[in-house]
Symmetry: C2
Subunit: 336 residues, 2 copies
């Protein structure tokens, strides 16, 4: 199949090469996930399953699996570890839904809407603990260190984002620091651990970390751009969620930085929570278009995607490297 | 000091022997706690510090320290691990406050009231991750297994408790299973890991686990009894919290089981959330007194405290064993 992939610049990149590269291993990962989200307390698999079976792309565990292909790993330890990565991610999504008061997640009612905030918080805790149990079973202290550190950094990033909420003066640097923590840290860790189980060189570990980290930043930038350009149906969330919540993302930061005094006044009011109607959102999008804020955000994403791709240059050419590269281009082409 | 302790049955037991046994080591633990709750995100130490510096007894890390004294451990690994235990406990308290919608914790405004639910959830996640980072630094996979398993069991117990909420038919067996998970699992793990770092025999590990587990059950039983007998000032929480939340605890289970039809009707309405006034609470306490439900709960607690003490019989007599034994009697004498 890979031989048929056309050059990235000409055709729209897809996730298909990654999906076919990792399909067999992902079946094993899904078996671990389904097995280990069970509990004698019926509410736990019901709530966890709502999200876990809810059509997520399994992008983060896919990075672990694709990384293992890239470095020619022959064992199966990465199945449990990829499941642990997905559990950590699911736990953070459940807690995010409570934190954001989300109504929709992946196009369905968010877990907190169906099961309530208390159960959603607690099942997140359960999955997080299960993730560590899986890692302990694997037995690598190095993997445990990478993923426990990533987990602490994710939480720090989320708190930092909360602190920046409704703060119109948030800088691009601060924003990059936030998404580097809340999103890219887990992408980096998921990629890196494939090199750890395969006992690769430090340079290869670092390269996979850099790939994942830059991909994670690109991915989040595009997500944040889509909140001002997609419709709810396409992304499984409501357009304008970030806007209404006063979340400081790059499109807002750039529109504000490039705006005149009158426009800045609007942004202050909007991010401050005083102008959040549909008409206000429409005006916000008009201002972003005037200053190319969404397109500039996409350009920034492309920069990080290219860094991700170039980080892979120390690995031999082949199916896995092409799939990982195309996945990075796919990340920045979403919603186009 | 220990030589001066009078026999348990004659005088009111205190926590003093435990406190003096562990005072020096606890200073080291507190240093680790203060150091490792830091973050570049100022909201994190502010929120964590509100609870951590808020006058908790540090009972769970104290078990690790006292256990180490009991088995004659000479190293210092248990300091970091005791801090990890306290972080796990603090994380669950923060999440509990969100789950219960608590107003008070340890006599102060609960973190969620001051800092809001979102930050409280996320700082809980941060402390939980930090706990695992501390364990990874210690490097014992056995300790990691014990505490990651305990963490999953705690979350299961909390979800189970949520499921039992407002269910008047909850049995004593189910209740014991819930508190065995949500409370006693961490007491057991905190005690057990002292034997692990000291490389004790399996029998000694099991004995410390049994001590902690039985103590944890006794402790929770008395906490639940106090919700129908203490005043807010003494316990740092509002009397009747459990009653208003429709939480099924043993005093309610026994009053319901021993009550006549009319009384059962009241309990159904009260636990169902339809009779939660101060007058209803007063009537609930009258019914409990009529059936000795609070006193019977205390008797149950005494049973578990005695099992905790007897579990220590394989260890030599001495200051540490006496301190641990008196702590168990103290746990059941609180509020008397």
């Amino acid at each position: 199949m890979t031989a048929e992939i056309v050059p990235l610049q000409r055709n729209k990149p897809t996730l298909d090469p990654m999906l076919s590269l990792t399909a067999t291993a992902m079946n094993s990962v899904n078996t671990v996930i389904l097995d280990r989200m069970q509990s004698e307390i019926p509410l736990i698999p019901a709530l966890a399953g709502h999200l876990i079976s809810g059509g997520g792309k399994r992008l983060r565990p896919m990075l672990t699996l694709a990384g293992a292909e890239l470095v020619g790993y022959q064992g199966s330890r990465h199945h449990k570890l990829a499941a642990a990565v997905e559990f950590i991610h699911t736990a953070t999504l459940l807690h995010d839904d409570v934190v954001d008061g989300s109504d929709l997640r992946r196009g369905k009612a968010a877990a907190n809407i169906i099961f309530g905030n208390p159960a959603t918080v607690l099942v997140g805790d359960f999955l997080f603990s299960r993730a560590f149990e899986l890692m302990v079973e694997d037995g690598s202290l190095k993997v445990l260190k990478i993923l426990s550190s990533a987990s602490a950094i994710i939480a720090e990033g989320e708190v930092d984002q909360l602190t920046a909420q409704r703060q119109i003066e948030t800088s691009e640097e601060r924003y990059l620091s936030i998404i580097g923590a809340k999103t890219a840290a887990l992408f980096a860790a998921a990629s890196r651990i494939s090199a750890v189980v395969a006992e690769c060189s430090d340079a290869q570990e670092e390269a996979l970390d850099a790939y994942g980290r830059n991909l994670g930043i690109a991915f989040q930038l595009v997500d944040d751009a889509l909140d001002y350009s997609s419709d709810a149906a396409a992304m499984g969330k409501d357009r304008g969620d970030d806007f209404r919540e006063g979340k400081m993302t790059l499109p807002v930061i750039l529109a504000y930085a490039r705006g005149n005094e009158e426009e800045r006044g609007f942004w202050k009011a909007a991010i401050g929570g005083h102008r959040t109607s549909e008409a206000d959102l429409a005006y916000a999008i008009t201002l972003m278009e005037r200053h190319d804020a969404v397109e500039a955000t996409r350009q920034r994403a492309r920069h990080f995607a290219e860094r991700a791709i170039d980080a892979l240059s120390i690995f031999p050419d082949g199916k896995a490297r092409m799939a990982l590269s195309e996945a990075a281009m796919f990340a920045v082409s979403r919603g186009y």
